[in-house]
């Protein structure tokens, strides 16, 4: 068997357009001019908007003007809030990365370049809507007003850690803020969000659910489960695929993005799919608003692909210069979400000085929060979590067998 094999075959093996040492190339990316696509009514049928899953919904033009039917009605004050949340998200990431380098935390993941995804979504959805985040949507917490100290204490596994030291850094949750727990296992949140939405519909609540996964994660079977159940029951849910082009070292083509967009998978399930410029705050906002309106008015689920670029490393364990050109980010054609919103705000009189003041404000907020967080200890010093708590919450009531194990641990140190 296998005698005629060589190192080449007639299989197609997807390859990214550029590897380290080669010139970045985003020719594969289909980009629609801003304002060019129509905004259909929210009760539209999946098959009638196939063009919206191949094109790209964009609002901000090259000069930063909001153009076309998707331009959302937002006041200047809203846009300033958006800017603040994006800046705060980035400042938080920058600080936490530095704290990882100083060995204060064991791990970190940034969302650099993808801030609009979470911030615009959280602003477009209602506070009662349940969010099922990925590990790269920290902006959901920040936009919903989570105290940064809480997020930091989780990363520090200190005495105020919401996870009681049981999870790696960044695996936040927020029951009161309606943000679900982040799992290390990819895509599990997708069908869970559908189920939550089914629950809301069964109970007669108006709340909807929304979930985020990376494009790499869309390969998991849970993606299929989510789309099937969402479609079958017309669940009130917004399912977001954040296509940041890379899944660790793996180019989006390996997840199946070479021939059709990720949004285009929706219609196969009877679910409308729309493809959106993920670095265009206004477009993301408008798309989430549209999809949320569909869900809330019983028109069912929407699959939203947010096209963006993972500008930083996958995580603190990763070195992207090993697998993609170092200057690839600089060649990314959809720019930076913060810079693009800033350009837009500029037309409304937002000055460089305003921007600088806001920047130093958020940096001060991050620094002050960090100092406050440290007062609750770190993984290795200061107030510590009680290790007895390791045995709790496995079940609602701690079983006798675990009490025994806990005592065994304590006796060991006597």
């Amino acid at each position: 068997m296998a005698t005629n094999m060589t190192n080449k075959s007639r299989l197609h093996i997807p390859a990214p357009p550029a590897r380290p040492g080669e010139a970045p190339n985003f020719d594969y990316l289909e980009i629609t001019p801003p304002g060019a696509l129509d905004r259909p009514p929210t009760d539209v049928k999946a098959r009638d908007i196939e063009h919206l899953n191949q094109g790209m919904i964009r609002v901000l033009d090259d000069e930063g003007h909001a153009v076309g039917p998707w331009a959302p009605q937002l006041e200047l004050a809203d846009l300033q809030v958006a800017m603040r949340h994006m800046l705060l998200t980035r400042a938080f990431d920058t600080h936490m990365l530095r704290m990882h380098r100083q060995a204060k935390i064991t791990f970190y993941m940034q969302c650099t370049g993808e801030e609009a995804v979470a911030v615009a979504s959280a602003m477009a959805l209602s506070p009662g809507d349940m969010l099922f985040p990925s590990y790269r949507t920290q902006g959901l917490h920040i936009t919903r007003g989570r105290n940064l100290v809480d997020l930091m204490c989780q990363c520090l596994s200190n005495s105020k850690d919401m996870c009681k030291g049981r999870q790696m850094p960044i695996m936040y949750h927020w029951a009161r803020g309606n943000i679900f727990s982040i799992s290390g296992n990819l895509t599990t949140q997708f069908p869970q969000a559908v189920g939550w939405a089914m629950g809301a519909a069964i109970k007669g609540d108006d709340d909807i659910a929304a979930a985020w996964i990376g494009e790499g994660s869309s390969a998991e079977a849970d993606f299929h489960h989510a789309l099937t159940f969402a479609s079958v029951y017309r669940a009130p849910v917004v399912l977001n695929v954040v296509n940041n082009q890379w899944a660790i070292s793996t180019f989006q083509g390996v997840a199946g993005g070479e021939r059709r967009s990720f949004a285009a998978r929706g219609p196969g399930y009877g679910v409308p799919g729309i493809r959106v410029d993920g670095n265009d705050f206004l477009a993301v906002y408008a798309a989430q608003q549209w999809a949320a309106h569909r869900a809330r008015h019983s028109h069912g689920p929407t699959l939203v692909e947010l096209v963006t670029y993972r500008a930083a490393a996958h995580s603190t364990s990763d070195d992207p210069t090993r697998y993609r050109p170092e200057d690839e980010g600089a060649a990314w054609p959809l720019g930076d979400p913060i810079e693009r919103l800033r350009q837009h705000l500029g037309h409304a009189g937002w000055s460089d000085a305003d921007q600088a003041t806001m920047q130093s404000d958020v940096e001060a907020q991050v620094t002050e929060s960090w100092e406050a967080a440290l007062r609750y200890g770190t993984l290795s010093s200061g107030p510590q979590l009680d290790r007895n708590e390791m045995f709790e919450d496995v079940f609602k009531d701690i079983p006798d067998a675990l009490i025994k194990q806990r005592n065994q641990l304590l006796e060991l140190d006597d």
Partner: protein
């Protein structure tokens, strides 16, 4: 002979087999151009091309399912699951398909798939980068389950796995990829290059399954272990000042019961240790075998030292990990009583 760490030894095993057997392909997430998140497949795609060292989508069920199909069609896929904690989306394909194909077709179909996957804790990975799920697979009939503890064994056993006509799950304790681990997290990291088992032949060799190794002969108590715990066991024996006979099982299925039984009959005592949680773990099977086969030679109850019966916590990693102190306490208990 070369001095290799575990990562290099595993890489060498795949290199040797890709070279030797055209039907071998390596398959998994980030394993191609990048060479794997732990670098085990570094350089293999450059050498054998993207059609034999193939990056896979993030779908463990898909990786196992397609590996089965390729294997049925005559290939020998070596699939990597990036972390053992992420093997569960592939669980149905492993348990219902991979493990049972030969049986249900009376041998007409079989799938020689090797699944490599890093396991175990000690790297601050929290509950989704630290698990040791070997017991979930040893309970399934029809798959072989291997866990090496050093570079020499890793290479020989992996080559054996790839050549085996039965499916194999090959657990790689990630804590010892780059050096043996004494079980003392604050001690300076050790490298493999001073360890005798880092001497690894460059070419082809195999180590058979189902053969445990006595890594330290002893008279007073038999200490059964595998993976990272082999090194921790040695620290524990030193700490307890006990003349323990340490047995590295290496191969859980098939299991070398002869070596275990012979040793326990000699020592009359047995302690079992693994990183995985205790309840229903592989240690329970070992304890049952010892009880069934050596009952009249036993001088003390058989004890197990394992991870606590909780998920693997991030902050309390070293309270959770069955370190030398806990293993030493068990060694003393079987010798001196509680």
């Amino acid at each position: 002979m070369a001095r290799l760490n575990m990562v290099q030894a595993l890489n060498s095993a795949m290199d040797v087999m890709l070279e030797r057997d055209q039907s071998v392909i390596v398959f998994g997430q980030d394993i191609g151009y990048f060479g794997g998140v732990f670098r085990c497949t570094d350089g293999l795609q450059r050498k054998y091309g993207a059609h034999r060292v193939v990056d896979a989508p993030i779908a463990e069920g898909g990786i196992v399912g397609t590996s089965i199909g390729m294997a049925v069609n005559g290939l020998r896929p070596v699939a990597e699951i990036q972390f053992a904690d992420y093997i569960y989306p592939g669980f149905d394909q492993i348990v219902s398909e991979l493990a049972k194909l030969r049986y249900r077709t009376a041998g007409d179909f079989f799938a020689p798939v090797t699944i490599r996957t890093p396991c175990g804790g000690g790297i601050r990975g929290g509950q989704t980068h630290s698990q040791s799920p070997e017991g979930l697979f040893t309970h399934v009939n029809g798959i072989k389950v291997i866990m090496p503890s050093n570079p020499y064994d890793a290479k020989g056993l992996l080559i054996n796995a790839i050549e085996d006509d039965d499916p194999v799950i090959f657990f790689e304790p990630k804590r010892i990829y780059n050096g043996p681990f004494s079980g003392y997290p604050d001690a300076p990291a050790q490298a493999w290059n001073t360890h005798p088992k880092s001497e690894v032949p460059e070419g082809y060799y195999t180590l058979p399954f189902g053969r445990a190794e006595i890594v330290r002969p002893g008279a007073d108590v038999t200490l059964l272990c595998y993976g990272t715990m082999v090194h921790v066991a040695e620290s524990a024996a030193t700490l307890a000042e006990v003349d323990a006979e340490i047995i590295d099982l290496r191969s859980l299925v098939p299991l070398d019961t002869d070596t275990i039984i012979e040793s326990v009959k000699k020592t009359g005592r047995c302690v079992i240790t693994h990183e995985a949680t205790k309840f229903g773990g592989f240690g329970a099977e070992l304890a049952a075998i010892v009880q069934e086969q050596c009952f009249y030679h036993l001088e003390a109850p058989v004890l197990r030292v394992a991870g606590w019966d909780t998920p693997y916590p991030h902050a309390f990693e070293w309270d959770y990990f069955p370190g030398p102190k806990r293993v030493a306490a068990a060694l003393q208990e079987v010798l001196e009583g509680p």
